[in-house]
């Protein structure tokens, strides 16, 4: 399992004893593209061998929610597991959906966390006609552990994810929903607040606490990626 979700395990380690009980935790996975190499191999197999050549693995490997399910199965998390995004705005959709689930869990499982996993390509894969990669593609993974603010009083040391109304035009410091993941990660490691538009009229803001976003160093970020 470890090789599948290093970003989650890294975040888990950094969260320390706060994250001991994962039983009712939820997982939201926001991916840009789901299982492209497997899909390409499957298309080639369908053409060359017919239906018998289609592997059942295409089901778990090309479904948008599969990363979330893989994490929940691997770490025995029994909260809701969903995939969101599937396009350039995956990050914004992930933040919004995680905040949405947090509202529900604040009532039903106030101790549970929401694990938001965002993945994106630094260098997207290029495949030849046999679906073999022809470039050195890099997929980045980021895991954020979110807990509902049950009392409504922010903890000074904790980073905050907020969803707020905003003007339709957005604001100068607001990124659009297709902010690249690498840039988002850089801002997190620098401890900078980041506001991302979720459609017009709504924005997701990640605001650092006294300890920034809780990431040790940029090096551990890269290690986790």
């Amino acid at each position: 399992m470890g090789h599948r979700c290093p970003a989650v395990l890294q975040t888990l380690a950094e969260a320390g004893s706060d994250a001991d009980d994962l039983t009712f935790d939820a997982v939201v996975a926001a991916s840009c593209r789901a299982g492209q190499p497997t899909a390409a191999r499957t298309m080639v197999a369908l053409q060359q061998q017919g239906p018998v050549g289609v592997t059942p693995h295409v089901v778990p490997q090309c479904s948008l929610h599969s990363p979330a399910s893989a994490v929940s199965v691997g770490l025995s998390m029994h909260g809701p597991t969903i995939g969101v995004g599937g396009g350039p705005a995956a990050l914004a959709e992930g933040l919004l959906s995680a905040a949405t689930l947090a509202m529900s869990l604040a009532v039903t499982q106030p101790a549970a966390a929401i694990w938001l996993i965002v993945t994106g390509w630094d260098a997207p894969p290029a495949l030849d006609d046999e679906a073999t990669p022809t470039n050195d593609s890099t997929c980045r993974g980021l895991a954020l552990c979110l807990k509902p603010l049950v009392t409504g009083t922010p903890l000074p040391e904790a980073a905050i994810l907020r969803i707020d109304s905003c003007s339709s035009q957005g604001s100068p410091d607001e990124f659009t929903g297709d902010l690249p993941l690498w840039e988002f990660c850089e801002r997190l490691t620098q401890g900078r607040a980041t506001h991302i538009g979720c459609g017009r009229g709504l924005k997701a803001s990640l605001i650092p606490g006294e300890m920034g976003f809780g990431f040790g160093t940029p090096a551990t970020m890269r290690e986790a990626a």
Binding site: T42, V54, P56, V59, T81, G86, L127
Partner: protein, 413 residues
Amino acid sequence: MAASTPAVVVTGIGAATPLGNSFGSIADALADGRSGVGRYDAGTYGRPQEHPAAAVADIPSPPASVVCLPPGDFGRRSRLEQLALGPAAWAIHDAGLELGGQQAPPPDRIGVIAGIGAEQLKDWERDYLDGGHDVFGPANRPTLVQRLAATLGIGGPSTTVAAACASSGFALALARSWLTAGWVDACLVGGCDVLSPTALAAFHNLRALSRREQHPQQASRPFDRDRDGFVMGEGGVFFMLERRADADRRGARCYGELAGVGMSGDASHMVTPCSNPTEAARAIAAALADAGLTAETIDYINAHAAGTPVGDAAEAAAIGAALGPAAERIPVSSTKSMSGHLISAASAFEAVACLAAIGRGFLPPTINLDEPDEACQLVHVPHAAITARVDIAASNSFGFGGANLCLVLKRAA
């Protein structure tokens, strides 16, 4: 959901399904116990690939009052996009919302959420079968949901949600939360899925599909002793959801209230249904608690039951575990026996079935239920619909990967 949170109601429905393209036609088909399953050839490259499946005969074009497309535009879009755009536009029309009009919320206050499990796989497949090479390249175009919002002129938050067979149910859950949080004033929400050679082959090779190719209308037989897998279907179902007070203010019709949602995860296996009913039962119990209801008040349960040997028995156990003695009197049926399994759109379709039961006063049947499996001890509704008053209905959806969801729908008071 806390008691003080506003009620959320369904004010519009649009559909393109194997059983009809409107609330009325779907309700009629369910009341008649009609099957939408037939023989379906998904063959590619000159090779036949026949399965029992439930296809949509005609996908309705969007009404011009909602969106005016250039001639031929709708037909040029992918089948998956048609199954989203047609029903979504009809849901807006059915809700009586004139986008941009005085009674409608501003476009930036309307959200869009669609349950779609594997949109890109379907897009890549279509392109590849047409001779394209998108699947080999880095293209990252806007999602169907983003294109849908742009086409309809909706500017609020939007997202695609995937949870396999529970995708559109989770979409409904998120939409309800957006409305109760005040993030949007109306939300267009639903799901769509399309029959595809790859998906049919993958599930066939997984041995998850029924092999009754010679008798397709008998192939989908949830809870029956001789069930041998599910029958894949396709369709699109969309709703307009609004807060009750807003709907009342503009005099909108209410099909029913989305009164409760329960969610959990099996954390068991990526594909195989979980035989342990614990987490599915927790989702059902959570939905009732969220709605502020007890098991005794439930009048009808629309089961997820797709006709798989393990899944149906596990669901029967989960219903018993969640509802206790009340399960011995609550009628349960699986409308997948008629509609097939609409995968990403299944939860949304089955919410329509619950609203039909509430609005028309009947219990939809499980057709093909000739000999109930002893492992599925429930109060079945075999073969034919039964006239009954239904005020509160629960609908289960369990997706592979362990995504469990239960919706509670209630007659709007």
